[in-house]
Subunit: 409 residues, 4 copies
């Protein structure tokens, strides 16, 4: 039985747990230590630390203070790890906590972070997903069920001071180019809601002042939100500090490529069973800047897809230059429009794209001026046939269900 | 035996074949007519119409006049097709021509179109790929072999005059924002090298003056360069003109997501065996703007991947806002760097990313300010083990081979 | 949180748990009741009820009394189920018990049941497999690791009296054709070691006298040992008695097609999370005699295989008529011989065939006089390259490990 | 362009083509020679040499003289190949001949060879399958279409005299145990219909008298009828004579595991593009008795299955001891019964099992007295939903079609 090195009590505030932190900083004290070859379990809060509830109101999605996220478990010190090494992490298994067999997906209000389609869905909405063993379904979105491609949205090692400084500089400078933008271009360090783990005193103050926010993925990995970094996969992380300092959180029961709804995938509290090893000097040996990984041998197989194309001409007909974001947004909007023909609301369709094992491919990025992106919708997640036929679509979605919506205050 | 409705003679200029055209325009005469339910074969030139040769010099890649491309076979008129219908196309099979069992991949000079990594590879280079049944390998890039995911880079129906006008307006306006850019932002109509199919007289002149260039993918599909639109797939195309006017060309023996080398995939002359059917009024019934498709049941399975991450901080350390292009470029550069550790030149590694069945995923597009993209490199295409190990990489690539390079004139 | 309807204490004898039984009989009292649409958890003993231990001796494999097996959890009564219905069972998830994260595989002595290759491996041997999250490896068989295709070896509904009588008659008659055979042709009812669940008095006595042994698969399913009936699959069981009476046990962490080692797969104690529904009158509607099922969308992907052929000429060169058993035995022996060239002992190789996700296909059964069977060995389970090369095999298996063996007494 | 070393004219009798043979014998002259590393094309007749016609009568299936089959192309001599080597064959591609884009499947009369279910289908029947690029469908069996898993039913190297003698002895002895059986237990050498390739004079006579019939698979491979030995796979054949002598024929557009209909798969004339290499002394190095192979990376993906179980109790309720043949027969009969509920005739259902990419697994072979076999029916080959539902099956098969049947004379 592997040892649980970090436990979380979902009834407790994550701020009261010294083995949790919500910023990246080299001075966050190691929460525990392991040796290469060890396997162990870390429990995690959901990314909001329990703020979002299993109910039928989107008020919590509207009201959340995003400066508090993400609550991570760690850092785990690995004996012998030195800067320049690669930390090899096997995700042996991941699951929800037995007392919390549900997750949430939502859209933030445009005023509070928005999402990929925030101009189309500017208000807070929420769907709750129940877990049935390896499967999930939602009381807010009928006729869809799928197996979870369970993964951590956020995982990585602590930066050293030099990398941290670089992050802060480039992001603060970037914010300064449009300081009043809503949502903002990026998030600077923010002392008030910092959870510095077990740090106290001056160290804590330093972390509060300098700690990088956890929202973006960066060189160390971090909040990559890669759906394929799932249980069973093997990851090679750059090490920047002695002991590596591996932290993990933001578990997802399932997610579509892009995590387009931002709040987010199917977000859950849970646990990660992992094993660590080292490749000494691996960063230079393999020329590694960002993490690399190998996918799991055991992933859900939904191999029949309906594939939607999008090009980099936006909703207003404006031309963009090889812009994959615009192209993917069009592919997403095309898929949403298609799903409404079968009876889904636009919000339900958007949520399906954010939660189901949808693929987003960068199909063409050289054919000026249009990029081409494709969104792959797995047909097997629906309990009816969603393929086109000569007869045209039927309204096969069970009526009477929709996602809660909360008006901005 | 299905009828070959369009034949091409690779020794002949495509300009001499009236069933070929290289612009999009509603007035291009139908090259032939079929009925719904028919299956038939169209032969095609390679996209350059034979300009690139099977030799060991990149001069042709450097010198090509890109205003001549792409040479398409068609348009095929479908009886009964009307604007608003969906044309359902089954790609029953695709292959190289028996007298041309090879293809090319190259990088354009930055002065002549460049490519996704043109700042890193500014000069013309070329690799030749030989076909061995369903497999391919290159005399310029050792130790790699893979099965072809054969697909048309370019396929779609004729636009109507209204859509054509919209294309021309938005692209010409777009070019006007940076008229002197090299490479240009887009390509306007260009009379001199127009091939208007069987059109003559005033109609031909009109096509020369208005015909949309074939480079970008647009609402009708066109040059999508989607590697998964492969033989065995089924596509639903919007119909804009009576008879639909389906054209196809730019066949690829294999391509990585993004077609990042631009010149291009593994480009070949060949033939397409297809079947057509109609969904009357399908565009409105299904809310279709761009084509949708279903992938083939018969595609190469390279299921073990090494996955590289990239974020939207560019090579100079500059921050970009959720920019998938920048993120994917970093993932590509990370993969190239990795491959050099085993002995490949950077050009060889870049060419592998452009030709092999590499996946490019839009992994995260909401975690401000960084997008995260992933490049999936199939490990099974190499004849050595390219996975990381504790021992570090060995120089396992056979030395003495590289891609021809031609200096700019 | 689904309710655990049946719990097992691995320190307790299964005979002391009234919700366990080891015979099939319509009069075994329902251990609990559920409604269609319910999901719930059943814990199970390993098939031997804890007789085989996690140690390095095969004495327990040699000495086990096979009249005691299999210890099943149930029967679960389903309200409204009637003879002629189909009971639809979703295997939502399956796992090992947290206090028992290991399993065993072994060969019975030929005197005590033997196995598929008992003439080649006539003595008791054992290997222990540790579970590391979704993966397993053995301290007795180095250089091999794989993800578990977790499944119940044994699951089905209670027979009615008429079916039970038919089973007993045909098997007792069959035994009578070779009453002294070792191992026997089949196993008749056996009162002494019967566990009749919660039955008492005359009912218990009747079950002891008539209860069908659990070893063979029969019309109702039962001990099918189908590796693909794994977590995530959906099964349609014939119902013979009011309430159906669903029982399950004999959990396997992984198994090769055929369960050729008999003792058995990687056998474990654990739990099954399942959901039940009914198709009223489904047996007649669909012409169902034996269960049918749909495989899981989430199964380990080991897609690169080395495939061994065998024909129905036996080890002594004797010709058999289209006999798939003989052909599969040859394919197994061919695979074992091959693996020894890399350093495995024959016993280790045999155990790999019994435990790993090996496929066994009936390839040809009409080409008189030889059947052809194929054994598919997944190459990805080895940590070295087991493919043939021009250089010939290397002894890459770490020396110094083997499986415990116990001489017959 | 690979060279076509053996051409066949489908209008000609195979007996008139000296590069064809229909017996195995070491003295059959090499039809052509190649070097290791060469790739080349061999054209082949269908296995009957053109006897079965593309029409709507089963008379030809009833009347065929099975002593004439199989017409093989070869033998191909490989320079440097010596007894004890492994001949490595890459099946680079396989296809139908352009002038023969169809195939046949049938059931032999029980009097003329029968098939796996001959007691249930004792009369000659036939279905014709048309090829549409990579797909096939039949005018005799509606609502089913699938991609071809194209493969040679028969491929292997020439035996040496010692092996040939062993084959003849064991089969002749075997026939002698039931000399009057219909169909026979095996087929002895038969001079009259022998095609000895280019042999003449005494050599020809010797081949006529000793040449082993091509029906069964044997140690060298031969008529294995393994559906997964498909284009793209790599095979390692034992070499017994100088030059190896590789022959191939009996091409199948598609087949289910077991080739249960015997006549046979979807049988076709066509061509094989292959490459050969040698592993010197490979038989001893790897302990090879029968061929081994690796499957193709490019095979049709029909991953959703409905799986039928069968046990070794026969149609009359008789118990058999761990007999996989009986168990697989029950699984096949269960699948046929199920398909009839949707409107197929029993003959149509049987033909689907023989032609579609159906899997047959040896699921359990140790649980005395019952073997368990499973038949995997891919649901994606049907144009309607063939899964069980609470509503029960609908008669969705288009009525009015069936397979021609010919009464015995």
């Amino acid at each position: 039985m592997p040892e649980t090195l970090i436990s979380v009590d979902l009834k407790q505030s994550p701020y009261d747990n010294p083995k949790i932190h919500n910023r990246w900083h080299p001075d966050i004290p190691m929460a525990c230590w392991v040796k290469p070859g060890d396997d162990f379990v870390l429990e995690t809060f959901d990314w909001t630390g329990g703020f979002i509830k299993n109910n039928d109101s989107a008020d919590d999605v509207r009201d959340i203070d995003l400066s508090t996220v993400h609550f991570l478990s760690g850092p785990v010190g690995v004996k012998g790890a030195e800067p320049g090494d690669l930390l090899v992490v096997d995700l042996l298994d991941i699951g929800a906590k037995d007392d919390s067999l549900w997750g949430f997906n939502g859209f933030f209000s445009k005023k509070n972070g928005g999402g990929f389609l925030t101009d189309h869905f500017p208000l807070a909405q929420k769907s709750i997903w129940d877990f049935h063993g390896m499967f999930t379904s939602s009381r807010h979105i009928p006729n869809v069920k799928f197996a979870g491609l369970i993964h951590p949205g956020l995982i990585g090692c602590l930066p050293d001071q030099k990398m941290l400084n670089m992050w802060n500089e480039r992001e603060v400078e970037f914010i300064a180019t449009q300081p009043d933008r809503v949502p903002p271009l990026a998030n600077p360090p923010f002392a008030k809601t910092t959870h510095a783990g077990a740090a106290t005193g001056d160290v804590k103050t330093k972390i509060e002042n300098e700690g990088a926010r956890t929202v973006p993925p960066r060189e160390h990995g971090g909040n990559c939100d890669i759906k394929d970094l799932s249980r069973g996969s093997k990851i090679y992380f750059p090490v920047y500090v002695d002991g590596a300092g591996l932290s993990v959180g933001d578990l997802h029961f399932s997610q579509g490529d892009g995590e387009i709804t931002f709040c987010g995938a199917i977000e859950m509290a849970g646990w990660v069973h992992m094993k660590v090893e080292l490749i000494k000097g691996g960063m230079a040996k393999y020329g590694i800047k960002n993490p690399i990984f190998k996918p799991s041998p055991i992933t859900p197989q939904y191999n029949d897809y309906l594939i939607f194309e999008g090009i980099s001409v936006d909703e207003q007909g404006k031309q963009h230059y090889l812009d994959v974001n615009v192209a993917y947004r069009q592919a997403c909007l095309n898929a949403i429009e298609y799903m409404t023909k079968f009876g889904y609301s636009r919000a339900q369709a958007y949520s399906i794209l954010g939660t189901a094992p949808v693929q987003g491919h960068i199909s063409g990025v050289v054919d000026i001026p249009n990029a081409c992106a494709t969104l792959w919708l797995p047909t097997g997640i629906f309990d009816f046939d969603i393929n086109p036929t000569a007869a045209g679509p039927q309204k096969l979605v069970t009526p009477g269900f929709d996602m809660p919506l909360s008006q901005d205050l």
